[in-house]
């Protein structure tokens, strides 16, 4: 077992036993499900919309070279500078260079999972720069110096009391634990940053090939401010964010809001197609768009799992995943958690190091059912397992299956096995759940049923 897998198990053990955490997350996600179901029902035909979304993303990704080229060229034609980064390090270097060329010190940022992915904030801070997260949830976890808990709801694991204490200790200001008052504290702090920051950094939800625009979805307006006020704007996005046409957004924006948050539309959906134009009075003078590969082309080359690149990062799969609910977002130990994270992380960061994420699933399929673009998520978890074995199997486990095969393929052995089991079971009860028990992984938390006498086959044979 890798050390990462061991850490995963250790964290999972701790969080699954934390009943307070369980209760908080259950409450949060229960509300989401009710809202999501209402919004889906409001659609005239959610199922066909989902088919169309899947087909559109298929086109976007299977013609990615043409779409990406069109996107980049149109953006550049309107004065944006487009940068291409094969690796996370290249992306960090590009962004750092832009900032250092401006001799800037203060950066305001809106939510970008790709920035988490490349550990951008740490790199900027190491270079002596101040970077402030402006999305309230991200602002909160930044103060706590922890990773976002969920790709859409970064602070869903925290109570108002914890946030109040955090603001008190880090900002010296927390009038009460009232959510509105706490939000106003953050608003006041961020206001000053929006106005004075020299650099704004955003992510993007979509990249429109037809018109050369990025699209940003949010509720707070912090990305709108980040893209309006600072003189230099940098947008970092994965190459897979492409949509072919502008009108595709008429489908994707409401579906993103519905699946991701149970809302009809998010508060602000904004398209940016260039820096401030000659006839415009404000907006960034420079607009840099950084396109990130970082192993996405590896996933692209896997035709079986290429559809994992269709992901619109709505978070629906996280919301319905019973594993996510019980282990929490931090246990995954990587940027992308939940089912989509468990599918793509082995491809993005190494199969053998991260295969345990694909194993930590009961393959229930709730994720696949929830995905608005019909990614075959739970089957890909199975495919990851198969691929990991093909490269490096566990001899012990293989032996176990060979023994199992021998027994079930020889009915006599199966029959003997049951008889032996019935004899041994009373003995087993005395060591059940303890350190000597070979079935401890079951019996530590669960009782074992007694082997039946007669078994079904014995009953059937006697009948004849």
């Amino acid at each position: 077992m890798t050390s990462r897998a061991r850490k995963f198990l250790k964290d999972a053990r701790r969080v699954t036993a934390d009943l307070r955490h369980r209760q908080i997350i259950h409450a949060a996600l229960h509300n989401y499900e009710a809202a999501r179901d209402r919004r889906k029902a409001a659609f005239a035909d959610w199922l066909t919309a989902r088919q169309a979304a899947a087909a559109t993303k298929w086109e976007a990704i299977n013609y990615l070279d043409e779409n990406l080229t069109a996107f980049a060229d149109k953006l550049a034609a309107r004065g944006a500078k487009v940068h291409w980064a094969s690796t996370d390090r290249q992306a960090r270097d590009i962004i750092l260079q832009i900032i250092q060329d401006k001799a800037a010190r203060c950066i305001v940022k809106s939510k970008a999972m790709t920035a988490e992915e490349i550990h951008l904030n740490e790199a900027l801070e190491r270079a002596g720069l101040e970077v402030v997260e402006s999305d309230l949830g991200e602002f909160i976890v930044q103060l706590r110096r922890e990773a976002p808990y969920h790709i859409v709801f970064p602070s869903m694991h925290l109570t108002r009391g914890e946030i109040k204490d955090l603001f008190q200790s880090k900002l010296g200001s927390a009038p009460s634990d009232n959510p509105e008052e706490l939000t106003m504290v953050a608003r006041r702090v961020l206001r000053e940053k929006f106005i004075n920051a020299e650099i704004g950094i955003t992510g993007a939800n979509f990249a429109i090939a037809e018109t050369g625009m990025i699209s940003i979805t949010e509720n707070e307006g912090n990305a709108r401010l980040t893209a309006a006020l600072p003189r230099t704007l940098i947008t970092l996005l994965g190459i897979e964010k492409i949509l072919p046409r502008l009108e595709d957004l008429a489908l994707f924006l409401p579906m993103l809001a519905t699946a991701g948050a149970g809302q009809p539309m998010s508060g602000y959906n904004t398209l940016y197609g260039g820096p401030r134009q000659p006839d415009e009075s404000d907006g960034p003078v420079e607009f840099h768009v950084v396109l990130l590969d970082n192993q996405r082309t590896r996933l692209l080359a896997d035709t079986e799992q290429r559809d994992a690149l269709h992901c619109i990062r709505c978070g629906a799969c996280l919301n319905v995943c019973p594993i996510f609910r019980h282990v929490g977002g931090h246990t995954y130990g990587t940027t992308y958690s939940g089912p989509i994270g468990s599918v793509i992380t082995p491809s993005l960061r190494g199969l053998q190091d991260w295969k345990h994420l694909s194993s930590a699933s009961s393959l229930c399929g709730a994720c696949t059912e929830a995905c608005p673009v019909k990614i075959d998520l739970h089957h890909h978890l199975l495919h990851n397992r198969r691929n990991a074995i093909a490269k490096r199997l566990s001899y012990l486990e293989q032996f176990a299956y060979d023994v199992f095969t021998a027994i079930v393929n020889h009915p006599v052995l199966w029959s003997l096995g049951k008889k032996a089991g019935r004899l041994l079971q009373p003995l087993h009860r005395s060591i059940q759940g303890g350190p000597l028990d070979p079935l401890r992984s079951w019996t530590r938390t669960r009782d074992l049923p007694p082997l039946a006498k007669p078994s079904f086959r014995e009953w059937w044979r006697k009948r004849k």
Partner: protein
């Protein structure tokens, strides 16, 4: 009209049904299999249970050991080659044969056989409702029950309605749906052993939802789920009892 003990009115021709009772049902819960036999015989069909039919091969398959799963799956396929109709006593094993055998054998010389056998295979409740067109089994079970949707049956085989259509016809039975009816119970096969803490936590959430309904019985069409939930319930000392769907339908 039917009366106690008599054969139900048979729709269609008498079939020879190959009943696939999964390995763990055979070993731990034979009464589920016995109930299936009783029901299908009452409907006028002939049942065969080939000796060679023990396991569908899912444990190795789900862990990614597809090479090791093939000999078991192949043995099952060969045994079912000439079956007129195959009824599988569990949603997860039914999904294995119906959905995953074609994938497991795709590109091999057994691909066609896998497809054909899959086309003649049904999970038990699916068979009754969608193949035989029967929902009323002249059953009576005066109790409050709640139903757990096993994930494979629910999502791989679309089995939300058939069990409920059958339970709706059981006299004096009251079905109370639990909030987490469709949520995974946490068994997941080898997952239960590899990630026992997650498995148990998921099971606890499920048990709590079932107990909230006040039902006396927790019913499902997947015995592996029930085995896991019963393990937790008995450790908790909870009073709710588990039953396979077939056991309820066999009551008269």
């Amino acid at each position: 009209m039917t009366h106690r003990g008599a054969a139900l009115t048979m729709r269609g021709n008498r079939m020879t049904i190959t009943l696939f009772i999964p390995c763990f049902v055979d070993a731990f819960y034979p009464r589920a299999g016995i109930s299936m036999v009783q029901i299908l015989e009452r409907l006028g069909h002939k049942i065969v249970c080939p000796k060679a039919l023990v396991c569908c091969g899912q444990p190795a398959f789900n862990s990614g050991y597809w090479e090791e799963a093939r000999p078991v799956a192949l043995k099952t396929l060969e045994t079912l080659r000439n079956a007129e109709a195959v009824v599988v006593g569990s949603g997860s094993c039914g999904a294995m044969v119906k959905k995953f055998y074609p994938e497991l054998f795709s590109g091999t010389r057994h691909a066609e056989l896998a497809r054909q056998v899959a086309a003649r295979t049904w999970e038990f409740s699916d068979f009754l409702v969608n193949k035989l067109g029967v929902t009323d089994l002249d059953a009576r079970f005066p109790a409050k029950v709640t139903f757990h949707d096993g994930c494979h049956g629910l999502r791989e085989l679309n089995l939300k309605q058939p069990p409920r259509a059958l339970l709706a016809e059981v006299r004096d039975l009251e079905l109370i749906e639990m909030g987490e009816a469709e949520t995974c119970c946490g068994f997941g096969g080898t997952f239960a052993a590899k990630f026992p803490m997650i498995s148990a936590a998921m099971g606890e959430t499920k048990c709590a939802s079932a107990l909230e309904t006040g039902a006396a019985y927790l019913v499902s069409n997947d015995m592996s789920c029930l085995m896991h939930l019963q393990g937790l319930l008995s450790r908790q000392g909870a009073k709710i009892k588990i039953l396979h769907l077939a056991e309820v339908l066999a009551q008269q």
